[in-house]
């Protein structure tokens, strides 16, 4: 039996009838039509599906869409300013070559946002532990660490 949910995604309210078992990631991608959050493992290990739910980074592959009812979701598509100006974290990932294939990047950037909210001037240790739940197979993380530092220097989250 479908349930009616209402979710604010990137500032816009969406109301849909969904199966109770529908995962939030599938809701965002298949129903709301987003392409930023990715599916890398479906076991909450890789973090490619990371979005912000009421301001906290969560892995949307291990939440149901119905759990987001009445709540606020920010995805990578909603991070840049309305005029298209990139968020400082996006700019930093670009400048520092913090991505290669790009598949982990939306999740990595949103996790960085959370990290910088928790630690505005993070140490290397805090950066690396803050990113522990997000896997990247391309970069060896070094340029990502540089990007987080650069974003922090620019005012971060």
């Amino acid at each position: 039996m479908n349930r009616k949910i209402s979710v604010t995604i990137n500032g816009k309210r969406h109301t849909d009838e969904v199966e109770p078992r529908l995962l939030l990631i599938h809701y965002l991608r298949e129903v709301a039509g987003l392409t930023g959050p990715h599916i890398g493992c479906e076991t909450s290990i890789c973090g490619a599906c990371t979005v912000m739910l009421d301001g906290k980074a969560v892995k949307s592959c291990t939440m149901f869409a119905v759990q987001a009812d009445g709540r606020d979701v920010l995805t990578i598509e909603g991070l840049a300013a309305a005029d298209g100006k990139l968020h400082p974290i996006q700019e930093a990932f670009w400048n520092e070559h913090g991505l290669q294939c790009g598949f982990c990047t939306p999740g990595m950037i949103l996790t960085t946002k959370q990290l910088l909210e928790d630690h505005p001037n993070p140490t290397d240790h805090e950066i690396r532990h803050g990113l522990e739940g997000n896997l990247c197979r391309c970069t060896g993380y070094q340029h990502i660490v540089n990007a987080v530092k650069a974003a922090a220097a620019k005012g971060g989250a």
Binding site: E19, R21, L22, H26, R29, E30, L34, T35, G36, P37, H38, I39, G40, C41, E42, T43, I45, C46, A48, T75, I76, E77, L79, A80, L86, Q90, F93, W94, N95, H97, L99, Q100, C101, G102, F103, C104, T105, P106, I109, H125, I127, R128, H129, L131, E132, N134, L135, C136, R137, C138, T139, G140, Y141, Q142, H143, I144, V145
Partner: protein, 777 residues
């Protein structure tokens, strides 16, 4: 016609941020699973839960009755279609017929048995769970050495010895070298099975257009054109009616350098149901059904003089092939043999490969593809020899390197090393770590009871694959450059990258050669209907072969543009450069855009010249390139836990000329991460029944941010004479150089306990046990 200010700033060699990034950092890139087509259905594949079994029956009644299910296909439906292809050939190679779906028998866990098609991906998955397969379970074998031992269960009943091939390679006179030897060291060394783990799993979308008898296939692949040829063959359709599109690809590392059952299978499904269909691999499927890498058991014997001069090498290599040959499976260990001499001068090699079938998913090319195994072996053996002779590991390497005056250098395995200065990166790495004082520090640490290790590797690799003689489907690459009527530039490359940044580096090359603004250059790849035939991105060939093809296409185009420039300037004495054509006598010039417009408006044409500005070049490389480098790793082992702390990681890589240092750094870091994954954590573990125990990311440990050391990366530069850009390739260097340096470091740390060799991965459990046993494995 005014005097034009010419562009003088060049872009090659600069740290330029990537042009592909804006779409990736905003979530607007289109990966395979982002593709949606009206009427699209979803497929889910029923896979074997056993490593070896006869299929007694398949019951799909309940599944087919589920609302939303439109079709279920099994082995009988595809029996007359072609097989999953193996392009490699070796004398006497046994090639099992690799059907798209299992027929009466399954050979590995994950073997596809049936495909369920439904209107929704949840329904497809529900229905797949309702398909019941009745198995008659058979004994399985998952270990390659056990597989080729007497009495092992046969993987394929027609070949009861489980030997797919044996292959010998001889160079020089190895028997004489061993007779001349004053010391021979022997060691069994394994390179464990690894799971490539691209963050994006594989996926396919197929759309059949019955009116045209044509199909479009989207696949997350490294080789769109080869895919088109082979899938068309499997389906029995004309390849010019099949269009393969590679969307954004979320990592490959060799795992997408293949043609799998699912591409042709989705094509077949789309034809049958008359609707587009999508299949996206789950992570579990990615681990059980996409190729694995490595899977070596190697027996080495190294002969030398007591002064450390290496004389010859013997190798018996047992390659775990898995149950089938994928595209290049049997060829991968032959690359290992080619790379066996490493950077060393000795000319005597005797190698035997035994390719063993096992009830596991096939192995194939994974980052480095045969070269990491070889480098790990030779670099471990050099250290073992040095330890026996009580020589310094740097000293023994420097003594045996091919000399700078010996290039081009013919190796014992028939290669011709292009150029090199092998001592240079080692010296640079030794200086970076202050080697002499570091050894003193180690002596003091040992006296204080600490287990501190210093390890190095000096690696070589075979890149820019490669001459067409060496690759089954050709080793050339193609490029087309089009200057459009408005002077904007379109580059079409046959190399379809997936994270390597060629949209940027190729634009740098084009902008420099044409003298135009880089923002006026667009690089297009990965669509067989738009781009001329190409080979693909693998084997560190993108820039070294694809970039060279682009360079030559640009020369052809410049020559033609110059003709239009001369016509417009009414002079024969003109120079093309800096985005303009200049009459040297008068100083008058015509701009890039003026020449482009003239070529298309064609009101007047230079003699014997056709309208338009398009140049295509197919470039056949005359040789491989051979990058090299030195990595030094400083470790400390915790006696209480067996944990390894990497104190320093120094990488000095020589990949020839560097087009974009930012991108090269990224390639080195990522390569090292995958080498470190192999050295310390990763292992595809099959139990004795052929079940993949490390079957999810929960159990297979790829590197995470907190566990990666800071990589101190630098370079020496020895241009390659093989291609006009002087580049050698860098995509696999980090992976190849890393694992032996790490293991050599940890063995050095534990050498006071008498440890001489440890097989990867160096898990804390393994190290702790070694320490407990006083160094005896």
């Amino acid at each position: 016609m005014a005097t034009t200010i010419t562009k003088t700033e060049t872009l090659v060699g600069k740290r330029i941020r990537r042009r592909e990034d804006p779409r990736l950092i905003t979530g607007t890139a289109c990966y395979l699973d982002d593709i949606k087509i009206p009427g699209m259905h979803h497929a889910c594949i029923v896979r074997s839960t056993h490593a070896a079994a006869k299929i007694k029956g398949i019951s799909s009644q309940a599944a087919s009755e589920l609302p939303g299910v439109v079709a279920i296909f099994t082995g009988a439906d595809i029996a007359k279609l072609g097989a999953v292809p193996c392009a490699a050939s070796l004398p006497g190679l046994r090639v099992p017929h690799h059907h798209l779906l299992a027929q009466d028998r399954v050979y590995f866990v994950g073997h596809p048995i049936a495909v369920v098609v439904a209107t929704d991906r949840y329904i497809a998955r529900d229905a797949a769970d309702l398909v019941e397969v009745d198995y008659d379970v058979l004994p399985a074998v998952a270990d390659p050495e056990k597989a080729i031992a007497a009495g092992a269960p046969p993987v394929h009943p027609e070949w009861p010895d489980n030997v797919a091939f044996t292959f010998h390679q001889e160079g020089g006179d190895t028997e004489q070298a061993f007779r001349d030897a004053e010391i021979v060291v022997k060691q069994r060394i394994t390179s464990q099975r690894l799971i490539p783990t691209a963050m994006e799993t594989r996926g396919v979308v197929a759309e059949w257009r019955p009116g045209d008898k044509a199909m479009t296939l989207w696949s997350s692949t490294q080789i769109p054109h080869l895919m088109r040829t082979m899938v068309a063959g499997i389906l029995g359709m004309n390849e010019n009616l099949l269009r393969v599109i590679t969307p954004e690809v979320g990592g490959g590392f060799g795992s997408k350098l293949n043609v799998y059952a699912e591409e042709a299978l989705m094509g077949f499904v789309a034809m049958k149901i008359g609707k587009p269909v999508k299949w996206v691999e789950s992570r579990r499927e990615n681990f059980t059904c996409t190729i694995h890498g490595r899977g070596h058991v190697d027996y080495f014997e190294l002969a030398a003089k007591r002064d450390g001069t290496m004389l010859g090498l013997k190798l018996k290599l047992i390659q775990d092939l898995g149950a089938y040959h994928q595209l290049l499976t049997p060829a991968i260990p032959t690359l290992s043999v080619l790379m066996m001499p490493g950077l060393y001068r000795f000319k005597n090699i005797s190698a035997e490969i035994v390719g063993a079938f096992t009830n596991c998913v096939p192995t194939d090319a994974y980052r480095g593809a045969g070269r990491p195994e070889a480098t790990h072996g030779i670099e471990r053996m050099v250290d073992i020899l040095a330890a026996e002779l009580k020589m310094d590991p740097a000293e023994i390497r420097l003594k045996n390197f091919v000399g700078n005056d010996e290039f081009p250098f013919p190796t014992a395995t028939g290669l011709m090393y292009d150029s090199g200065n092998y001592a240079a990166p080692l010296h640079q790495a030794l200086e970076t770590v202050s080697y002499e004082s570091l050894r003193k520090e180690q002596t003091a640490a040992r006296a204080a009871g600490k287990l501190m290790g210093i390890g190095m590797s000096t690696y070589g690799e075979i890149c820019a694959m490669g001459p067409s003689q060496a690759l089954p489907a050709g080793g050339w690459e193609s490029a087309t450059v089009k200057v459009e009527p408005t002077g904007k530039v379109t580059v079409l490359t046959g190399c379809s990258p997936h994270g390597q940044g060629e949209e940027t580096t190729f634009a740098q090359v084009a902008a420099d050669e044409l003298g135009c603004d880089i923002d006026d250059v667009m690089v297009i790849h990965g669509d067989t209907a738009i781009v001329q035939y190409g080979i693909g991105t693998f084997g560190s060939r993108g820039t070294a072969v694809g970039g060279a093809a682009l360079f030559y296409a640009l020369q052809d185009l410049k020559a033609k543009m110059k003709k239009f420039g001369a016509m417009l300037l009414e002079s024969e004495n003109v120079v093309f450069g800096g985005g303009a054509c200049v009459d040297e006598a008068t100083g008058k010039s015509v701009s890039f855009a003026e020449m482009a417009t003239a070529a298309y408006h064609a009101k007047k044409l230079p003699p014997n010249t056709e309208p338009g500005l398009v140049a295509t070049h197919f470039w056949e490389p005359p040789n491989f390139t051979f990058p090299f480098g030195a990595h030094i790793v400083v470790t400390e082992v915790d006696r209480e836990t067996g944990a390894i702390d990497i104190k320093r990681y120094v990488a000095v890589d020589d990949c020839g000329k560097i087009l974009n240092p930012l991108i090269v750094d990224g390639q080195v870091h990522g390569g090292v991460a995958q080498g470190l994954g192999q050295a310390l954590w990763e292992e595809a573990v099959y139990d004795e029944n052929g079940q993949l125990v490390s079957g999810e990311l929960t159990d297979y440990a790829i590197p995470r941010a907190p566990y990666m050391p800071w990589i101190e990366s630098s370079h020496t530069t020895t241009p390659s004479p093989v291609n006009p850009l002087g580049v050698k390739g860098v995509g696999e260097a980090g992976t190849i150089g890393c694992s032996p340096a790490v293991v050599n470091s940890v063995v050095d740390a534990l050498s006071p306990l008498g440890v001489r060799h440890i097989d990867m991965p160096l898990t804390p459990q393994k190290i702790w046990n070694l320490i407990q046993q006083g160094g005896r494995a």
